[in-house]
Amino acid sequence: MKVLIIEDNHELAETVLDFLKREAYVCEHVDSFASAQDKIVSFPYDCIVLDIMLPDGNGLNLLRFIRENRKDTSVLIISAKNALDDKVAGLESGADDYLTKPFHLPELHARLKALYRRKRLGGDEVIEFNEISVNTSTLDARVHGEPLDLTRKEFDLLVYLLTNKNRVLTRQSIAAHLWGDYTDNLANFDFVYQHIKNLRKKIGQAGGKDYVGTVYGVGYKFNTRIE
C-alpha cells in the first residue's frame, strides 16, 4: 500500500510514519499545499492522509484537487476540528473518512486498511490469518472454515486485532474503536475486557489458537508468533 501523508506538523507526521513503517507500506510525507500537489500529480497513491488545516492553503481545496486528478485514491482527513460542519464538508467534498485529533495510531491504521480493502480489493474483502478468515463485507468470520457466532462488536474487535497484529492495543484505543465518539461517557474498560474474553472463548471453542494475549496493565495484543 502506498500512503501519502500531508501534515504540516513534522512531529506528528513522523509518529505516523514510524507506526506505519512496520507494516511495510510505502509512506511519504509532505508538509505543504504546494509540495502535496507535486506529489499527487507525479505518483499514484492508494491512500492519502490529509490534514485539513495547512499553513499555505485550505485542505478542502487540496481535497478537490485530489479528486480531480486521482479519482481512485482514498482520502482520510485528519483534523483538529471536531466540528460537525467540517466533517460534513469534508465528506461531501469527496473524503472517504474523517478522523479527529488526537487519534490512536492503531485506529488510523485500521481506517486506512479498511479504505484500502474497500477500494483496492473490490467486493472480496477477506482478511485471512492462519485458520481465521474474516469477510468484512458479509460480516462473516470463520475458524477452520466453521462460522463463528459473533456479535457486531466482537466482529469489529476481531477485525481491529487482525489489522493491528503484533501491536499493543490499549484499552482506550479499543474502547474508542468500538464505541466511537461516545466513549467519553461510557469508557468502562470492563466492557473491553468482557468483549475480549468472549471473543477468545468463541475462537477457542471453534478450535482456533489463542492469539489474543493480555499486556498486563496496558491492553491486548494479537500475537502471530505463538506455538
Binding site: F19, P102, H104, T170, D184, N185, L186, D190
Partner: protein
Amino acid sequence: MKLVQKFALWYLGITTVVLLAGGVLVFRSVVQENDEEEVRRVRGIIEDTVEALRKNTPADSLNSKFVTIREVSFDRPIVPLHTRDTLGYHSAFQGTERQIQGTASYRIGNKHYLISARSFAPEPEETIRGVIRSLSWIFLALLLIVAVTSVIVSRKILSPFNASLRAMQSFNLKQKKPLVLPATKTREFVELNDFLTSMTNKALRDYRALKEFSENASHELQTPLAIIRGKLELLLESDITDEQAKLIMSAHESVERLSRTNNALALLTKLENREYQSVEPLDLSAKLENAIESVGELLEMKGLLLDRAIQPSVLVNLHADLADILLMNLLSNSIRHNFSGGKIAVALNSKMLEIRNTGPAPEVPAEQLFERFRKSNQSGESIGLGLAIVKRVCEVSHYEISYTFEDGWHILRVLFS
C-alpha cells in the same frame, strides 16, 4: 409609564402650580382694580356734588341713593376726602352688599357740607368664583391639547429613539451583523446612537476574538495531544519492562483525560456561543430508542434492567447533535452511577423526559451536581463535565432540568416548555 406620559404629567403639574399662583395674582389685582375704580367713581360723585352746590343747587335736591349731604357747623374742621369699605343695603338684591363709601366736607359760601357718596363693589367671593371658573376652562383646554399633541409630537420626536430601541432589542451577537440605527437630527439621539453603535461594534469584536481564542485554544491543543498519544503508543511497542509499561500507561491515561476534557470544554464553549440552533422539530422518541439501543450491551454487561415508557413521535425543538449529547450523557450517567443488577426507568412524553436509576446516594448536594468538574464519587473515568453539558443543553433549549434522590432512586427530569 411612557416617557411622553411622564412629560405630560410634569407639564400639567407645573401648569397647575402656575395657574394657582396666577389665580391668586389675578384675583388680587381684579379686586384692587375694582376698588380703585369705585373709589374714583365715589370721588367723581363727590366732586360733581360739590360743583352743583357751588352753582347754588339746593342741597336737598342732590340727595339720592348714592349721595348724602349734611350741613354741619361752619366751625368744624374740614374733613378731607377719605374712603372705606362698608356694607350697605342693596334694594335690587334685597340684601346687604359690599360698598365703597367716600366722605369729605367742604365750605361752600358760608355753609359747611359734609358729603358722603357710596358705590356698590363686587364681592371678593364673586371675583374668586369667576377667576376659578375661567382658570378651570383654561386648564381643561390645556389638558386636552397636551393629551392630543403629546401623542402626535412624541410619535414624531421620539420616533428615532423608538427605532433605536427596536434595533437594540433585535440585536444579536451571534448574527455577527453590526447594529444599523436610523439617522436622526436630534443631538441627544445622535449621541445615543453613536454610543450604541460603537458599543455593539466593540461587543462584536470582543465576541469574535473570544470565540476565536477558545476555538484556537482547543484546536491548538489537539495536535500536541495527538503527538504525545502517538509517541506513547510507539513506546509501548518497543521492548519495555512491565514497570515502564505502567508508567507509560499512566501518562497515556492522563493524555486521554486531557483530550476528553478539552473536547467537553470546546463543546461547552460552543453551547455558550449558541452555535446550535434547531431548524426543524426532532423526533425525540426515535432518538431515545436509538440511544437506548446503542447502550444495550452495556446494560446487559452490567446486568441492568431497563424499563421504558416512551410515547411515540414526541417532537421537540432541539438540534439533533444536542439531542444525542443530552440522551447519551443522561443514559451513561444512569449506567455509571448504578449498582450492578440495578434498574433504570426511562419515560418520555410531550411534557418531559425522565430518567430514573438506582444507585448509591450522592455525596454532594443535588444542586452542585450540575456544576463543572463536580463529581459525586471521584471515579477516575468521569471528567465531571457530563451534567454541566446536559445543563447547558437544557438552558440553550429553554428546558428545565431537575435532579432529586428519593427512596434510593436518582431522578433526572427534563421539562420541555
